[in-house]
C-alpha cells in the first residue's frame, strides 16, 4: 500500500461551477469521437449488449448458486501530449474497453473479465465468476432499473477531452517555458498534459443499472537544476475532475511550471536532513500524504473486518488528540478523488473517520458493509474492469484547527519542517513512512536551511496522539494510491500540523 504523490495540490477548483451539463457545440476536434451518452445506448454501442442480454448474463453468473452477480462495464479514452528538450516529443491516445463480472458467495469472490465483446467470451467470464459457488441454482437476476446518479461532482464545462490538440500544446508550452526561463541553472524540463474520460456502467442481480462519466485531467512539469556538480529535480502538477477553466481561474500552466522550477532551484542549496527524534511541522498541502498513510489506509474496512489493521478493535475509542477530526469525502466538487458513484454503483458519501479524536467510521465497499452489518458508503473502487472493487480512499481530509501556521513554526525551537514529498507507505501494523523531497530546518521558531533526502517514520497509533497543533490553513495534493496492485486517483488535504516527536531519517 503506497501512495505516489506528484507533489502538488489544488486550492479550490471550480467553486460554484455546479454540475451543469451544457449542450455546448464541441469545437471541431482533431481526435477521437464525440461525447457518448451515459445510458443503455452506450452499452449497446460499445459492448453489443441490450438490457435483456445483461439480465441473462447476470443470471448465468448465478447458476452455480452465487448470492449476487454484477457486471462492470468500462470504456475509457485517455490522451496525453509531452514536451521535452524544447520540442513536442510525442502524443498518445489510449482506449480501454472491457467488462468484469463478479459473483459473491458469502465472503468469497469469483471474478472473470474480458476485452473481447463476443457473447461467447462474455458468457465465459460469467461462468468463471459463477464457479466460486459450487451448487446449482435456477434463481434469475432481478429486472434492471436504470438509476441515474443523484450527485454530479465533476466540472463538465469545457472538458479537456474535447479540446483540440493545439490548445493542449499551447498550455504545456506555457508551463515548459516558465520553468525553463525561471533560472539559468534549470537545465532540463519536461511538461505534459494527460486527460481521460472514463465511461462506466454497473449492473447487478438486485436490479441496479447505473452509469457514470468521469473526466480527469492533469498538467505536470518536472524541472532539473544543475550547478557546481549538484543536481536535483523538482516537480509540480495540478488538475482534477475539472475542465479547462481550472487552468485559467485556479492554477495556470505558468504557476505549475514556476513551482516545479522553484523547487529544483531551492534543492540545489539543500543540505542533508538531520537524523533522530525531533519536533516536526508538516506544511499544509502535500503533507496530506501522512493522513493518507497513517489514518486512511488503516481505516479501510477490508483490513478491519479481516482484523488485519491495527485499528480493527478500536471503534468508538479515542485514537488521537481530541483536536483531530478526519473524514474522507468523495463528494467534494471537481477534486481528483471525487466520484458520483463508486465502482459498485453505490452513491458516494462523506464518511467521518475520526471525530474529535474518536474513531467513528471505516470506508467500505458492498462486501465489507455486508460482513460488518452496516450500509455501503460508496468507497468501493477499482482501477479497471480487470480488477475487483475494494475499499479505497477518495479525498481524505484532516479538518483545519485554530492555530496560525506562523504561530506553529514559532513554537518550535529546533525541528524539521516538511514541505514536499515523493510519497509514503504504510503496513497493516500501522507502521508508516513518508519520503520528503524538500524540507527546512526550524531554528528558534524560524524556517532556515533547506533540507533534502529525509524519511519520516512512525506508528500511526503513537503519532496521532502526538499531533499537538493544527493550523487554520488548508491544502490538497493530487495523488495516485496503490493497494493490492490497483492504482486509483485520490487527493488528500491537511492544514499545517505540529507533531511533538517524530523520527526524522537523515544523514549524520
Amino acid at each position: 500500500m503506497n501512495i505516489v504523490t506528484r507533489r502538488d495540490f489544488i486550492k479550490q477548483c471550480g467553486i460554484g461551477a455546479g454540475a451543469i451539463m451544457t449542450s455546448t457545440l464541441w469545437f471541431d476536434r482533431l481526435i477521437a469521437g464525440s461525447e457518448l451518452p451515459a445510458d443503455l445506448s452506450l452499452i449497446r454501442q460499445k459492448f453489443g449488449l441490450r438490457i435483456e442480454d445483461i439480465k441473462k448474463v447476470l443470471s448465468l453468473a448465478l447458476t452455480k448458486g452465487g448470492d449476487f452477480s454484477e457486471i462492470f462495464f468500462e470504456y475509457r479514452i485517455s490522451e496525453s501530449v509531452t514536451m521535452e528538450e524544447d520540442i513536442i516529443k510525442s502524443s498518445s491516445e489510449s482506449i480501454t474497453l472491457g467488462i468484469g463480472i463478479r459473483v459473491l458467495k458469502g465472503q468469497q469472490i469469483g471474478y472473470g473479465y474480458t476485452n473481447d465483446m463476443t457473447i461467447e467470451k462474455i458468457n465465459q467470464a460469467a461462468l468463471t465468476a459463477a464457479a466460486i459457488a459450487k451448487g446449482n441454482s435456477k434463481i434469475i437476476a432481478a429486472d434492471l432499473t436504470v438509476l441515474k446518479p443523484k450527485l454530479q461532482v465533476y466540472d463538465l464545462i469545457n472538458p479537456a477531452h474535447s479540446q483540440k490538440i493545439d490548445t493542449k500544446i499551447d498550455m504545456i508550452k506555457e508551463a515548459y517555458q516558465t520553468a525553463k526561463n525561471f533560472d539559468n541553472r534549470i537545465v532540463k524540463v519536461s511538461a505534459s498534459i494527460a486527460d481521460e474520460n472514463q465511461y462506466i456502467a454497473v449492473a447487478n442481480s438486485e436490479g441496479l443499472m447505473t452509469f457514470d462519466t468521469r473526466p480527469q485531467v492533469r498538467l505536470s512539469v518536472a524541472a532539473t537544476a544543475a550547478d557546481k556538480g549538484i543536481k536535483n529535480t523538482g516537480s509540480h502538477s495540478a488538475g482534477g475532475r475539472v475542465g479547462m477553466n481550472f487552468y485559467k481561474n485556479v492554477k495556470s500552466p505558468t504557476e505549475i511550471g514556476r513551482r516545479a522550477a522553484e523547487e529544483a532551484i531551492i534543492l540545489l542549496s539543500a543540505k542533508n536532513a538531520p537524523a533522530g527524534e525531533m519536533q516536526v511541522v508538516l506544511k499544509n498541502e502535500q503533507s496530506g500524504v501522512m493522513i493518507h498513510e497513517a489514518v486512511g489506509h488503516p481505516l479501510e474496512a477490508d483490513a478491519n473486518w479481516k482484523k488485519q489493521s491495527i485499528m480493527w478493535d478500536k471503534m468508538g475509542q479515542m485514537v488521537s488528540n481530541p483536536i483531530v477530526t478526519i473524514y474522507d469525502d468523495a463528494t467534494i466538487p471537481n477534486y481528483r478523488g471525487s466520484l458520483n458513484i463508486d465502482d459498485e454503483g453505490t452513491p458516494t458519501e462523506n464518511v467521518m473517520l475520526i471525530e474529535k479524536g474518536k474513531l467513528v467510521g471505516f470506508m467500505n465497499d458492498r462486501l465489507a458493509a455486508n460482513i460488518m452489518k452496516t450500509k455501503p458508503n460508496g468507497h468501493g473502487r477499482r482501477e479497471t474492469y480487470q480488477d475487483v472493487p475494494i475499499p479505497r480512499m477518495n479525498n481524505t481530509v484532516l479538518a483545519p484547527g485554530d492555530s496560525d501556521p506562523k504561530e506553529i513554526i514559532e513554537s518550535v525551537k529546533n525541528g524539521f519542517y516538511a514541505v514536499s514529498y515523493q510519497g509514503g507507505q504504510v503496513s497493516n501494523t500501522g507502521k508508516f513512512t513518508f519520503s520528503v523531497n524538500l524540507g527546512y530546518l526550524i531554528e528558534d521558531g524560524k524556517i532556515t536551511t533547506p533540507l533534502k533526502n529525509a524519511t519520516l517514520i512512525g506508528t500511526n497509533t503513537l503519532i496521532l496522539k502526538e499531533i499537538s497543533m493544527i493550523g487554520n490553513d488548508m491544502g490538497f495534493f493530487l495523488g495516485t494510491c496503490g493497494k493490492d496492485g490497483q492504482s486509483v486517483s485520490v487527493t488528500c488535504g491537511t492544514p499545517t500540523l505540529k507533531i511533538n516527536k517524530m523520527t526524522v531519517g537523515g544523514v549524520v
Binding site: L30, I31, V81, I87, I88, K89, S90, S91, S92, E93, S94, T96, L97, G98, Q107, Q108, G110, G112, Y113, T114, N115, D116, K121, A125, T128, I132, D166, I169, S190, A222, T224, A226, K231, N232, A275, G276, V388, Q422, G424, Q425, S427, N428, T429, G430, K431, F432, T433, S435, N437, K452, N453, A454, T455, I457, G458, L462, T503, G505, G506, V508
Partner: protein, 442 residues
C-alpha cells in the same frame, strides 16, 4: 493460446499496411495476449478466484520524423484503424525530432525455444490442484504457534504471447509462462505487530519452490521481527540481505536508463567509462539467460537482447538504451527498450555468515518501507527493519528506524560480497556489506 496466434499477427500486419497507406513513414505494432489465473486463500477458505484472457495492442507511428503513439484493449478493426488515422494526424503536431527512428532490421540469431521461456505444463495444472497448493501453503504458514494470523496465501499462473512487427520488416513473437505462490503472515501483539512473508515465481511448474520451503521462509521472516526495538541514531556498517541488495540494484538500474541520462536526471549521466564503484563491483545485464525472468529474444523495438557488463571492476561500461536514447547519446542500442533484462551483481566468495561475523556492531537489513530514491542526485532514504549485530552475532530485531545515504557513495563502500546469488527475480544480487550508513532512530 495456440490457435489465435496467426490471427493476431495478421491483425498487426494488416494494420501496418493500413498505416503506411495513411502516410506513416515508419510504424511499429506490438500485441500482447495473456491468460491469467489466481486463487487467494485466507483462513482456509477461498477468498477470491479469478481467471481471464486479455489482449492489448500498442502502436507507434513516425511521420516525417514526428512521433505519435496509441494503445487499445479494443481490437476491433474499426477502432484500430481509427486509432492509426488519429495517430498519423496527431503526429503532424509533434515537432521534428531528428532522433526519431525505428531500429534498423537485425536478425534474431537466438533460437527462442532454447531460452526456455515457456513451460507447457503450466497450462495443464487443474484449478483444483492450484487451489490445493494455496490451501496447503497457508496451513503450513500458520503451523508455527508464533503466527498470530495469516494475511493470505495465493497461487497464480499465467501464459502469454508477445508479438512485434514494424515497417522495417521486423516480425517476431515469443511465448512465456509463469507460476507463483506465496503466503503473508502477521506476528506480534497489541500495537506491536509485524508482517512479512515469502513468495516464489518460476517459468516452469517444476521450478517452483516447494510449499514447505516457502512456508518456512515466510515464518522465519515474520517471526524474526517479533519484539523489534527502536535503536539510537548512529553510523554503522549495514549488511543488505539478498532482497535488500537486489532492491538497491533496482535503484541503480533506474539511474542507468537512457532517458534519465539524456534528460540529466541521473547522477550517472556523463559518467560512462569512469570509476563509479569499488573494484569489487561487477554488474551484468543478460537478456539471454536460460529461463531467466527478464530473458527475451528481442526487446520492445525488435532489437536483439544481449549479455553486457554494466559495471566492470567498478567502471561504468554501459547504459540501458533503446533506439531513441542511443541516438541521442551517440551510442548503440543495448536492446533495453522496455527495461532491464536479467540485471544482477556477480557474487563474491564470502558466505553470508562470514559477512555477519565481520561486523562488530551494525545492522543486518531485511526489509524497507517507503520510496526515498532520487535518481537525479542518487539520494537514498528509507524506513528500515533489520536484526542488530553485536560482535559478529545476530541479536535482537529493530524497527521504526531509517537508513539514509547516497547511491554513489554506497557503491564505493560495498566491502564484502556474498557467494549467495540466486535468480529468483529479474534483478538479483548476493548479500553484501556497506561499510557505513546513517541509521536514524531514537
Amino acid at each position: 493460446m495456440k490457435s489465435s496466434n496467426e490471427s493476431l499477427l495478421k491483425i498487426a500486419e494488416k494494420l501496418l499496411s493500413f498505416g503506411k497507406s495513411k502516410g506513416a513513414s515508419q510504424m511499429q505494432i506490438s500485441i500482447g495476449k495473456s491468460q491469467n489465473f489466481s486463487v487467494e486463500i485466507r483462513n482456509g477458505e477461498i477468498e477470491r478466484l479469478q481467471e481471464a484472457v486479455s489482449t492489448g495492442l500498442a502502436l507507434k507511428v513516425i511521420v516525417d520524423k514526428k512521433v505519435a503513439s496509441a494503445s487499445s484493449s479494443d481490437l476491433s478493426v474499426d477502432t484500430l484503424e481509427k486509432l492509426v488515422d488519429n495517430a498519423v494526424a496527431r503526429a503532424r503536431y509533434s515537432s521534428v525530432d531528428e532522433f526519431a527512428e525505428l531500429p534498423e532490421l537485425e536478425n534474431i540469431n537466438v533460437n527462442v525455444d532454447s531460452l526456455e521461456l515457456f513451460d507447457p505444463e503450466v497450462e495443464t495444472i487443474t484449478p483444483d490442484k492450484k487451489i490445493e497448493i494455496a490451501l496447503s501453503l497457508e496451513k503450513l504458514g500458520k503451523a508455527d504457534p508464533r503466527i498470530q494470523q495469516s494475511l493470505g496465501s495465493y497461487f497464480g499462473n499465467s501464459t502469454g504471447e508477445s508479438f512485434l512487427v514494424n515497417s522495417n520488416g521486423f516480425s517476431g513473437s515469443y511465448r512465456t509462462s509463469r507460476c507463483s505462490s506465496g503466503v503473508e503472515l502477521q506476528v506480534g501483539e497489541g500495537d506491536n505487530m509485524y508482517e512479512d512473508g515469502w513468495s516464489d515465481s518460476s517459468i516452469s511448474y517444476k521450478g517452483l519452490m516447494d510449499n514447505d520451503e516457502i512456508a518456512k521462509k515466510a515464518i522465519h521472516r515474520a517471526t524474526r521481527l517479533i519484539g523489534a526495538k527502536k535503536i539510537g541514531t548512529q553510523n554503522v556498517p549495514v549488511i543488505f540481505d539478498q532482497q535488500m541488495s537486489a532492491s538497491l540494484l533496482g535503484f541503480l538500474a533506474s539511474c542507468l536508463y537512457g532517458s534519465s541520462i539524456y534528460m540529466n536526471r541521473s547522477f550517472l549521466a556523463g559518467k560512462l567509462d569512469t570509476k563509479i564503484a569499488g573494484d569489487n563491483i561487477n554488474i551484468i545485464d543478460d537478456g539471454l539467460m536460460k529461463a531467466g525472468f527478464g530473458t527475451r529474444p528481442f526487446d520492445g523495438e525488435g532489437v536483439p537482447t544481449r549479455i553486457k557488463a554494466m559495471i566492470e571492476n567498478g567502471v561504468l561500461k554501459n547504459y540501458l538504451l533503446d533506439t531513441y536514447s542511443s541516438k541521442k547519446l551517440k551510442l548503440k542500442s543495448t536492446g533495453n527498450a522496455g527495461g532491464t533484462t536479467n540485471f544482477y551483481m556477480k557474487p563474491g566468495t564470502k558466505t553470508p555468515e562470514e559477512i555477519i561475523k565481520s561486523v562488530d556492531k551494525g545492522l543486518y537489513l531485511v526489509k524497507t518501507i517507503g520510496q526515498g530514491t532520487v535518481p537525479t542526485s542518487g539520494d537514498y532514504s528509507k524506513g528500515a527493519y533489520g536484526i542488530w549485530i553485536e560482535k559478529g552475532e545476530l541479536t535482537y530485531p529493530v524497527a521504526e528506524i531509517t537508513i539514509s545515504g547516497n547511491l554513489g557513495k554506497m557503491l564505493s563502500n560495498i566491502e564484502m560480497i556474498g557467494n549467495d546469488l540466486e535468480f529468483r527475480r529479474s534483478i538479483a544480487a548476493p548479500t553484501f556489506k556497506i561499510s557505513e550508513i546513517t541509521i536514524s532512530g531514537k
